[in-house]
Homo-oligomer: 93 residues x 2
């Protein structure tokens, strides 16, 4: 089994990320980690839920971790932003 | 100990919800559950993180659950929307 695959959720349409999750799970990997910050957090949850409901019923959420990251804004000032990781695994049927 | 308190995250400023969490934890309750749907999911994570980082260092995330709910849109048509629950507890110091 390969390591985990990481998918960074940005502001593309959610179906892009759903496709990315399914592509990764076509390889022999243990889990896929969705990483998102700020407003993309909602899209990360959408990605997990749409993938599970419509395409991969055997997909399970192994863990969800939230945190805070300090990143530079447009003016270079450091600001705090919320972050989330959703760890997805495939239940062997 | 009273039961859990539930706070529904909407589109008010995040500090409203931070204050609500702290108000609830001033009562003898076991945990506070933040419930959010759709885009408010990011604000729920902000609420948990700001409360923990700035006001309640002993706040811990006991569990995070994601799901999908079917709700009527403006035209009355049933649509799926992602949902999340963040269960917060206070670590006894």
């Amino acid at each position: 089994m390969e390591d985990d695959a990481v998918i960074f959720i940005g502001d593309k349409p959610v179906m892009n990320y759903v496709l990315a999750v399914m592509t990764q799970f076509n390889k022999p990997i243990a889990s896929v980690i969705l990483k998102a910050r700020g407003r993309a957090i909602s899209r990360a949850v959408d990605t997990a839920e749409i993938t599970r409901n419509r395409f991969m019923p055997n997909l399970t959420v192994k863990n969800i971790i939230i945190g805070t990251e300090s990143i530079p804004n447009e003016e270079g000032k450091m600001v705090n932003v919320s972050s989330m990781e959703i760890i997805l695994t495939k239940q062997e049927s």
